[in-house]
Structures are given as structure tokens and as C-alpha cells.
């Protein structure tokens, strides 16, 4: 009987551990997009408290829906980033400058600039001179600020069923 009780106790402990938000205070993640922002609140309309770039490491301190609370090097500032901007892989920047051995697990790290990169693009363009990247480069400069998105929705009387922005 006691054996049964302790078994149940152990299983309950396992369940509680397994179901509690999987946030480890020491968990670090990498920024996997070219550039992104850390915001004061878990919303794209939140005030920007810091900017981050590809490969930056952040420490995870909390989670809320699709948003991850992070702190930057040194512990401040703290703020929120959308989970789609982050990866658990360690992104190694500037190939050649680090001591990364070929064959290191793909699950753990990604080399920035590995594979299809600007060198390959230049070579591809050279082989396909008919292709013109001018408008591709230009369209990538079209960036709409969250404040403008907010105004656009308000002026068009677009009212979200719940609060606007990514949940």
C-alpha cells in the first residue's frame, strides 16, 4: 500500500514538473532574423526597449502565449520578443573566426552565412545576368512601423475580436 502511495506521489511530481511552463532560468536563445526588437509588453504595439540583430544571444526569463520574455547581456533591459524571432540553436556568426568543427550537431548550432549565402547569390547572379535584383533590394526597404499599423487599423475602424496584434 505504501509502495502504491509513493508511486502515485512520484508520478504526480513528474506530471507537475512536465506540465509546468518549461522555462529554465538559464535558457538562452539566439535571434534568428536579420533584425528585431525587444518590447516593453508582449505585443508588436509595445514600446521598443532594445534592438537586436541576427545571432544575438538572449536569456529567457518568461513566456506568455507566443511571446518570450528575455533579458539581454548583463540582465538589462528586459522585454518581450515574439517566439518566431528566436531559436534554441546557437548561431555562430562570421564563419572562420570561431572554433567550430565540421560535423557538430545541426540541432545545436547554425552557422550564419553557411550554405546559400551572399557568395552563392553573387555567383548565381553572375550566371543569370538577365535577373535584376534592384526591385528586390528596394522592396526590402519597405518597412511599416507598428505605430503606423495601429493608426491604420484605428482609422479604418478595423476592430479585432480581442486585442489587436499577434497573440
Amino acid at each position: 500500500m505504501t509502495g502504491f502511495r509513493s508511486m502515485i506521489f512520484c508520478l504526480v511530481l513528474l506530471v507537475v514538473q512536465g506540465l509546468s511552463p518549461a522555462v529554465n532560468a538559464e535558457e538562452t536563445m539566439s535571434v534568428q532574423v536579420k533584425e528585431s526588437e525587444v518590447r516593453a509588453t508582449p505585443s508588436f504595439l509595445g514600446k521598443i526597449v532594445a534592438k537586436v540583430v541576427y545571432g544575438d544571444r538572449v536569456t529567457v526569463t518568461g513566456k506568455s502565449g507566443s511571446w518570450t520574455k528575455v533579458s539581454l547581456k548583463g540582465g538589462t533591459p528586459q522585454g518581450w520578443m515574439h517566439a518566431s524571432a528566436l531559436t534554441t540553436k546557437r548561431i555562430i556568426l562570421k564563419a572562420g573566426q570561431t572554433n567550430v568543427k565540421s560535423g557538430t550537431s545541426q540541432d545545436e548550432l547554425a552557422l550564419a552565412g553557411k550554405g546559400f549565402n551572399d557568395q552563392v547569390e553573387a555567383s548565381f547572379m553572375n550566371q543569370n545576368k538577365i535577373l535584376d535584383y534592384t526591385w528586390i533590394n528596394l522592396m526590402e526597404t519597405f518597412k511599416v512601423k507598428p505605430e503606423l499599423m495601429k493608426t491604420f487599423l484605428a482609422e479604418g475602424e478595423v476592430v479585432a475580436p480581442s486585442e489587436g496584434g499577434a497573440q
Binding site: 508511486m7 534568428q32 532574423v33 546559400f116 549565402n117 535577373l131 535584383y133 522592396m139 478595423v158 499577434a166
Partner: protein
């Protein structure tokens, strides 16, 4: 008996809690092959091979980093622009970007390597293209099928859906994916040598032609188009637009589309089939657009 059920229940929950979604495919392959071995249906060597094979298949597309998808997207976009001229109307391109980027920000995947960017193409064809890198193109002909901002929102959300569901990446031939990932995996940390660049460029060219063949010439499967329609309905709804805008747009498209054309007439399911598919799942209320929204939409598309 109750206690037994409790223990069984807790054990099942514990197993669920420790099984992450990302390993489901691997687990299914592993379990299946182990069961096969136990039943004596396959040898243990065959079981090993299946386990390895399943892992490789499950990982393949995931191993392309967002950065690599971005470079693929840029090239696919350049191919699209070698076939279509840009509609150089700053007012309309601004409007389409504000609407499109606002939708993307509200989606489940608001952040991709280079962000989402939109451009109008100067063509009467009814067409749109989305690259794996988030470059989204819509023709004047397709915008003409939209009578409301809610309709244009649905068109852009459909294209955002193709990006997020990785439909472009999935049209890369399997053998090419394996080839590309094998070269990339063996590549060291050093800068690329000229032979590696040449080899990667060949593979890259193959990847681009696989995607552009689907995107421009053959179209995606009907299933992919219906998935993108569903993604569109969900996204516009989340932001507060009426998904009925998509139905309205498809009705106009049904009238405007020319049978035998090289545009959506060739690459997409018939607009009426898309309407049936969407309405088979849910029905929406008629769109009643506030005047202010209707007016800014008409002003933005004036002269198109």
C-alpha cells in the same frame, strides 16, 4: 480499481508531458519499426535503416535555416520580376505594404529572416506570387478583383499563408533537398572555396527552378491552395476584417478570369471550387465596410 485507473491516467499524462511535438514524427517511425521487428516482419537491420530514414525525412526541410530561405526567396523574386514589370505607383505600393505587413504582424509567424514585403506588378493577368523569403507580389489584375479593403486583405493573407506553410520550400524536389543539405552539412566553418561556391550555386539554381516551376508554371496542389485560403480566413478574422471579403473577391475573379489564361486560370483551382471549399467549412456575414475604410481603399487603387 479506481486507484488503478488513477495510476494509469497519471502515467499516460506523464508520458504526454514528456513527448514533445517536434519528436512525434521520429517517434512514430521508431515505434513502427520496433513493432515490425518484434512481430518478425522485418529484420533488425531493416528496422535500423527505417529509423535512420524516418529521422532524415522528418528533419530535411527544417534544416534550411531562415537565412537560407531568405536567399532562396530573393532569387525566386528576381525570377518573377524577369517576367513581370513593377507597377511603379508609390501610393498603391505603400498602401499594400501597410495592409500586408499589418496582417503579417498579427499572424502566428510574424518574424521571418528579412520580414514581409509587398509589390504590385504591372499586369492585367490575375496573379500573385509569394517567395519563401517573404517577398509577395500581386498583379493589377488581381487587385481589380477586389472591391473592398476586406477583399484585398484576404488576398494578401492568402499569400502570407503560402509563406508560413512553406509551400514554396515543399515544391523543391526531394532529391535536391537531400543534395543541398548534404553539401551544407559537410561544409566547414571556413569561408567557401571556389569549388564549393560552384557546387552550391548549381544546387541553388536547381532549387530556384523547382520553386519557380511550381509558382509560375504549374501551380501548387489544390490542397495547398485550400490551406492558404483557410489560413487567410483565420488571419483576417483575427485582425477584425470580414472573411466574406475573400468570397466576394473570388466571385469577381470568376467573372474576370479568362479560360485558358496562363495566370490563376492555369495555376489555381476554379474560383467557384474555392468558394465551395471555404463555405463548406463556415459561412460569414455580408461585409459592411465603414465608409472611411471603403474610401481609402478606392483612393489607393484609383486608376488601376
Amino acid at each position: 480499481m479506481k486507484r488503478f485507473l488513477l495510476i494509469t491516467g497519471i502515467a499516460a499524462m506523464a508520458i504526454m508531458a514528456f513527448t514533445s511535438c517536434s519528436t512525434l514524427v521520429d517517434t512514430a517511425g521508431t515505434l513502427g519499426s520496433m513493432l515490425g521487428e518484434q512481430k518478425g516482419l522485418i529484420t533488425s537491420e531493416q528496422g535500423d535503416s527505417i529509423r535512420k530514414g524516418t529521422t532524415a525525412v522528418a528533419k530535411s526541410l527544417e534544416e534550411f535555416t531562415p537565412e537560407q530561405e531568405y536567399y532562396i526567396g530573393r532569387a525566386v523574386g528576381a525570377v518573377v520580376l524577369s517576367r513581370y514589370r513593377v507597377y511603379e505607383n508609390a501610393q498603391l505600393n505603400d498602401y499594400v505594404n501597410i495592409l500586408g505587413q499589418t496582417l503579417a504582424a498579427a499572424s502566428d509567424k510574424p518574424e521571418i529572416f528579412g520580414g514581409y514585403h509587398f509589390l504590385v506588378l504591372d499586369s492585367g493577368d490575375i496573379n500573385a506570387f509569394a517567395t519563401p523569403g517573404g517577398h509577395i507580389f500581386v498583379t493589377r489584375g488581381l487587385i481589380r478583383c477586389c472591391r473592398l479593403e476586406d477583399a484585398l486583405a484576404a488576398v494578401l493573407a492568402h499569400e502570407i499563408g503560402h509563406v508560413q506553410l512553406r509551400h514554396g520550400m515543399q515544391s523543391i524536389e526531394k532529391a535536391r533537398t537531400t543534395q543541398a543539405l548534404t553539401i551544407i552539412a559537410t561544409e566547414g566553418a571556413k569561408n567557401l572555396g571556389s569549388s564549393e561556391v560552384a557546387q552550391l550555386t548549381d544546387t541553388f539554381s536547381g532549387v530556384i527552378s523547382d520553386i519557380t516551376n511550381s509558382l509560375i508554371n504549374n501551380g501548387y496542389s489544390r490542397a495547398f491552395e485550400y490551406q492558404a485560403d483557410q489560413a487567410s480566413v483565420a488571419l483576417v478574422n483575427r485582425l477584425g476584417y470580414n472573411p466574406q471579403g475573400l468570397i466576394d473577391m473570388l466571385k469577381v475573379m470568376g467573372k474576370n478570369i479568362k479560360k485558358g489564361g496562363m495566370d490563376f486560370a492555369k495555376t489555381h483551382p476554379d474560383p467557384n471550387d474555392r468558394i465551395k471549399e471555404i463555405q463548406g467549412r463556415q459561412n460569414f456575414t455580408p461585409v459592411v465596410e465603414p465608409n472611411v475604410r471603403q474610401e481609402r481603399f478606392m483612393a489607393a487603387i484609383a486608376g488601376i
